[in-house]
Point group: C2
Chain length 145, copies 2
């Protein structure tokens, strides 16, 4: 696993730059986001913060995640049941979701900017963000299926 320290400092710096307060709870959540592998959900992050801050409420987790999202420091992946978050690769990218075990993997495909531009012109929409999700079976579940 990569050293989470640099990313942690990036996130802290980004919060400082915007004059957000670095409360202990917030710092701990940011620490966990930087240290996270994969794509934790809000509930999972909440559970992890609780080990050090037993009174941490859901609302605080959501509030801080919303903050980081607005700062484009965290990518939200909304799935059917809940959302998952990636604070280490906040640029939009496709995801692969296993329909059996719900594992989430990162895809490396990217949208051709020309195609997006064409879609904007054709539809009249101004595109701000995109989400591409593939549903299927992960390597493990393909076998044991």
């Amino acid at each position: 696993m990569l050293d989470p320290q640099p990313r942690f400092e990036e996130l802290i710096t980004a919060l400082k730059e915007r004059d957000y307060r670095l409360t202990p709870q917030r710092v701990e959540l940011v620490r966990l986001i930087a240290a996270s592998e994969g794509h934790p959900s809000a509930a999972q992050l909440h559970a992890r913060v609780k080990t050090r801050f037993p009174t941490m409420s859901h609302a605080t987790v959501y509030k801080t995640l919303a903050l980081l999202k607005d700062m484009n420091q965290v990518l939200e992946i909304d799935l059917r049941d809940d959302s998952h978050y990636d604070g280490n690769h906040p640029a939009p990218h496709p995801h692969l979701v296993c329909m059996r075990c719900n594992k989430i993997a990162d895809g490396d495909m990217e949208l051709a900017p020309a195609a997006v531009k064409a879609l904007e012109e054709h539809s009249g929409y101004q595109i701000i963000r995109s989400q591409i999700t593939f549903y299927g079976l992960c390597p493990e579940c393909r076998q044991s299926g």
Copy 2:
């Protein structure tokens, strides 16, 4: 607007072929799906069925939608808050969602099959379906913003 009758008959035929019962409530829901423009939500469909069948319950709507989904006769578009459905163009295709008024439009972009194949090989996942959603501002909201 296109004549909904042929699509209605297609859906009815598909249900018959699989020996599902054509109850009045079910037929009415199918009729509304075939006649729908855009991408109604389960709640919207429920409200529409209720005008003719005031006792229609949510569960029945969801059950029939799940049935049609499994038959690949209805495309489900899951958004953050709820799902929307397209029973007239059930093949997966991208959607544009307005972040201001929540209007949903169809996109005409398509994924290059070679790119999907490459993603399958690279990730090890077997891809069963995909969902591409663009978030932004619709033409109307771009102006009045």
